[in-house]
């Protein structure tokens, strides 16, 4: 049924794999430190994340063994299943910190909003791929992608999870900007977004989210409340100085001043222990990883592949950028993991699945006909 093609292996992007492995190793080492305690040693977080990597590697192998074009037939089933999971999480899911994000699967708790990011990318890619006439999209043709984005966006906002919801919007904007739009479309879209911002401020944002935006500009306003995260993160990062305090020696981390140090604020741990130099090294690998993904996008054999790769690359990039900007005090605090770095099974599996699709597109770039 499936005949193995040598060219697939030849075209496999080993550089990207090595880069991913290096960043993943840094992330794991950092997670070990972030959750390490002198009394208990390594934490269960570390091992759980390791298992997720093993599971994720299996998923990558599964994903690359089938031509990515199968997604063109599976896009709607994937979309419908994801939306159903989001509804289940919202109405029947586990409540953690008064948010409804998780579905308990026994072995681990699935966060369907992470899968929704990937589902959205696949659907937008297939829509734009199929509908592209080469003359540019009109506003009417954008109604479908807006609705495709709007449904998961609303469901996730209701959880409430502003960070992930915004991420969907960012993916939509990035991918839509890649395809050709009519000039009129761009103007009307831009103006409607400008109109939507005040409405969102008044009716959508929760008070704690508004507070976070205020405290961004002056975190000292509320040092024990919403400003605490930013202040502690900046102290941890800043006190790392040029060369850092050394692995496992970050005081702010190990004395627990830094909140959410194994999830969203994982990079602050890295920056405190490895300093400016270590941070630059990590950023370089990250940047390289994104650029490789973009390069694969550019060499894809068809536009679907381009859109898929670009969508995933933008997902990885924007998550990383928003996460870093947030914990360096440049953006308000929203829930946003750093891919391959923050602890979290659903996020990690989503990232690895996405990378699998990129590998897939890269491997099949020279296959112009059905094998």
């Amino acid at each position: 049924m499936f005949r193995f093609d040598r060219r697939l292996l030849l075209n496999f992007d080993w550089t990207l794999l090595v880069t991913v492995v290096i960043v993943a190793a840094m992330g794991l080492a950092n997670l070990y430190s972030a959750t390490y305690s002198s009394e208990a040693g390594a934490s269960s977080y570390f091992f759980r994340q390791l298992y997720f990597y093993l599971l994720g590697s299996g998923l990558i192998l599964a994903v690359i063994s089938v031509d990515y074009r199968i997604l063109l037939t599976l896009n709607y089933p994937i979309y419908i299943i994801t939306m159903a999971l989001l509804c289940i999480a919202l109405f029947f899911g586990d409540s953690v910190a008064s948010t409804q994000r998780w579905i308990d699967l026994g072995l681990f708790r699935l966060q369907p909003s992470e899968l929704a990011k990937l589902a959205l990318i696949i659907n937008l890619a297939s829509y734009y791929y199929r509908k592209d006439t080469g003359k540019g999209f009109t506003l009417r043709e954008l109604v479908a992608p807006i609705l495709l984005t709007g449904l998961p966006f609303t469901l996730i906002l209701m959880q409430p999870d502003l960070g992930t919801a915004l991420m969907l919007a960012v993916i939509f904007v990035s991918m839509t900007l890649l395809v050709k739009l009519k000039a009129r479309t761009i103007i009307s879209l831009a103006s409607s977004i400008i109109c939507l911002i005040p409405i969102a401020w008044l009716y959508v944002l929760k008070p704690y989210q508004k507070r976070r935006i205020f405290t961004l500009f002056n975190p000292e306003l509320d040092p024990h409340g919403s400003g605490y995260h930013i202040i502690q993160s900046k102290i941890a990062v800043g006190s790392g100085l040029m060369f850092g305090k050394g692995y496992l020696k970050g005081t702010q981390v190990h004395l627990k001043f830094l909140p959410e140090r194994h999830t969203d604020f994982a990079f602050s741990v890295w920056a405190e222990e490895w300093g400016f130099i270590g941070s630059i090294v990590l950023l370089a690998f990250y940047c390289f990883l994104i650029l490789l993904a973009l390069k694969i996008a550019g060499s894809a054999r068809d536009k679907f592949g381009v859109l898929l790769c670009f969508g995933i690359a933008s997902l990885l990039f924007w998550q990383a950028f928003i996460n870093l900007a947030m914990l360096l005090g440049l953006l308000p605090v929203v829930g946003m993991p750093l891919p391959l770095f923050s602890y979290g099974g659903s996020s990690l599996l989503t990232t690895l699945l996405g990378l699998g699709i990129i590998f897939n597109v890269g491997m099949r770039r020279y296959m112009t006909s059905n094998p």
Partner: protein, 631 residues
């Protein structure tokens, strides 16, 4: 197998792929290049920000990281001890154990509360009240659940700490009273520092929650007793939990206060006063040093150790025996017949009487339309000065009063230290009142009436004195005319045992007239105790000659209920009983003054108490005649 099994849909897709033209690919690649540019630019933004935080401002954040994790914990110094004149420990400091609870560390609060209720023996509601009171305290900070638990509870909690997650024991120094409530008013007590006191201490010696002297010598000698706090630098985590000790400066214990009080004598005095309201004062006549300063009933000092409860405080306020004021220095009572000593000295000094003057007491003296009665209705017959003092004949002194100017009388009273504060180093001392004609004009806008002098000469009317003032006067008469400031502190001793301050006797005045007249008074006082008809015979000792004077101070004029049975008079309308004495009469060493509120008769209520104090004194110090032999 058919490899072209794919859906027709797939077939169309494949056709489409082949349509991807060069122009479109070019546009896409251009846009991907823009995306690459965006990625690089934003990465540069992040790098610049990192440079700013870690390199530019790095040292600033490093400093803040240090502030974050290093806490300077104050270690409360052990408070100085209080010793008696024979170096016996009266008040010291012991560690006390409080139960605190960090709610954040407790997964199942309900279970822990239930267990604590059983262990501490408190109702669950009591514990919940405490928790509710601390609602404002962040959950990661310890909440005080119970103060000063006993050893058994402490051991139980320590052994079962696994069953009580989040519950800890905190050690703080607390006052320990080795002689229970001995000299409680003089000792005073500690309380939590209040906002005003905190603002007043600019040196930063205090912080909120500190216990500070609130009354008595604890307050007056706060600076000596408190010592110097130590500092423990600890590394803490975000919850404030101690992780590592970095450096330690040991606290410096406070200085000890050595009192002039003799614990045995004070115990004897307080025992004799048990169940009664009043005061006992005893001093060394040649120094003014206090041997006893007792106010009865005493304060329950242990009630104050963990902060006094509202109920305990209300109970003290409601107590009919009024335990709160220090009656020895704050209680103002008419001196009654005690004052006859002053009248006698004034009569002698002004030449109105001589030692040989004899007055015929018929039981009353008529002035105008009113008869001034002697306490002995049948009269004393012919009395001279000695007998007048011994038997406390009112008529003898009325006679003096007929000719005596009230202002002259006030002069002699002032010359013995009455009418003004003695200057004892305690707060809230009252000055008493010695009336003058001028005082009456100022206060009542009325001239002095001659009849009023007749009340004054026997110590009734406007006169008011404190037991301490009467004691000072007695000592002054006994020592030949020197007024000493009453002192209760002998030395201040530093923690190494070195005396850093001595309190030598302080003379504050002198009797302004002939010494010989004082001798006449002393003779009268000896007779009062030792003559068969003397009013103070209840204070007589076998080996030692005691000299003393009784007094019975009217609380209300009872002339219209003269015939009422004494037992029928309500407690708070009964007369106050006075007795003041010195001994040995030949060479006085100690002056003792006793006031029993509503004790009715000085001779029957107050004199026996003075006798017990004197007997104890000579038992402790030996008979002076034996003592003097080796010299």
């Amino acid at each position: 197998m058919n490899k072209n099994h794919s859906l027709p849909y797939m077939q169309r897709t494949i056709t489409r792929i082949n349509k991807l033209d060069e122009a479109e690919l070019f546009i896409l690649k251009k846009r991907l290049a823009i995306a690459t540019g965006v990625v690089l630019t934003l990465t540069a933004v992040i790098i610049l920000r990192l440079w700013f935080l870690q390199v530019n401002k790095g040292f600033e954040f490093e400093e803040r990281a240090k502030v974050n994790r290093v806490r300077a914990l104050r270690i409360v110094a052990p408070r100085g001890n209080v010793l008696d004149r024979k170096n016996r420990l009266l008040i010291t400091t012991r560690p006390s154990f409080n139960v605190v609870w960090t709610r954040e560390d407790t997964p199942d609060p309900a279970l822990v509360i239930k267990r604590l209720s059983k262990i501490l023996g408190d109702d669950i509601t009591t514990i919940l009240d405490r928790i509710r009171a601390g609602e404002d305290i962040p959950k990661y900070l310890p909440l005080l659940l119970k103060e000063d638990i006993d050893w058994r509870t402490l051991v139980y909690i320590e052994n079962n700490h696994l069953k009580l997650p989040g519950v800890r024991i905190e050690v703080v120094p607390a006052r320990e009273y080795l002689y229970d409530n001995l000299a409680s008013h003089m000792a005073g007590y500690l309380g939590e520092i209040d906002r005003a006191e905190l603002e007043e201490s600019r040196g930063g010696e205090y912080e909120g929650g500190d216990r500070i002297g609130k009354q008595g010598l604890e307050k007056i000698f706060e600076k000596q007793l408190r010592g110097e706090k130590g500092v423990l630098m600890v590394e803490v985590d975000a919850r404030g939990f101690e992780k590592k000790q970095l450096a330690k400066k040991e606290p410096l214990p406070g200085n000890d206060i050595k009192l002039t009080i003799d614990a045995d004598l004070q115990v004897a005095a307080e025992k004799a006063m048990a169940g009664r309201a009043g005061a006992v004062v005893a001093t060394e006549v040649d120094t003014g040093r206090l041997l006893v300063l007792a106010s009865s009933p005493p304060l329950e000092l242990n009630e104050f150790v963990g902060g006094i409860s509202r109920d305990a405080w209300q109970a003290m306020l409601d107590d009919p025996l009024h335990p709160l004021p220090n009656k020895a220095i704050q209680g103002q009572y008419p001196p009654a017949s005690i004052y006859k000593m002053v009248t006698a000295l004034a009569g002698l000094g002004e030449g109105l009487i001589t030692p040989d003057t004899v007055v015929n007491c018929t039981g009353s003296l008529r002035l105008g339309s009113r008869a001034y009665r002697c306490w002995k209705e049948s009269g004393h017959g012919m009395v001279d000065l000695t007998r007048a003092l011994a038997e406390s004949c009112d008529v003898y002194f009325y006679k003096i009063g007929l000719e005596l100017d009230v202002d002259r009388l006030a002069f002699y009273a002032g010359s013995l230290g009455l009418g003004k504060k003695t200057g004892i180093n305690l707060e809230h001392e009252k000055s008493g009142l010695i009336p003058t004609a001028d005082w009456k004009r100022r206060t009542y806008r009325e001239p002095w009436q001659p009849g009023e002098t007749l009340s004054i000469v026997i110590g009734q009317g406007f006169n008011l004195t404190t037991p301490l003032q009467i004691n000072v006067m007695t000592a002054t008469i006994a020592n030949g005319g020197v007024i000493y400031q009453p002192q209760f502190i002998k030395e201040i001793i530093d923690p190494d045992g070195k005396t850093i301050r001595n309190f030598p006797p302080v003379r504050t005045g002198e009797y302004q007239d002939k010494e010989a007249n004082l001798e006449l008074i002393r003779r009268g006082l000896v007779a009062a105790v030792n003559d068969p008809l003397g009013t103070g015979s209840n204070a007589r000792l076998n080996e030692i000659t005691v000299a003393g004077k009784t007094g019975t101070a009217q609380v209300v004029q009872l002339s219209h209920v003269e015939d009422i049975e004494e037992e029928m008079i309500p407690y708070n309308r009964r007369d106050h009983a006075w007795f003041t004495a010195f001994a040995p009469a030949e060479k006085p060493e100690i002056a003792v003054t006793v006031l029993v509120e509503h004790g009715r008769h000085g001779g029957s209520a107050a004199a026996p108490i003075a006798k017990q104090v004197l007997r104890e004194y000579f038992k402790l110090n030996g008979d002076p005649k034996d003592r003097r032999q080796p010299e």
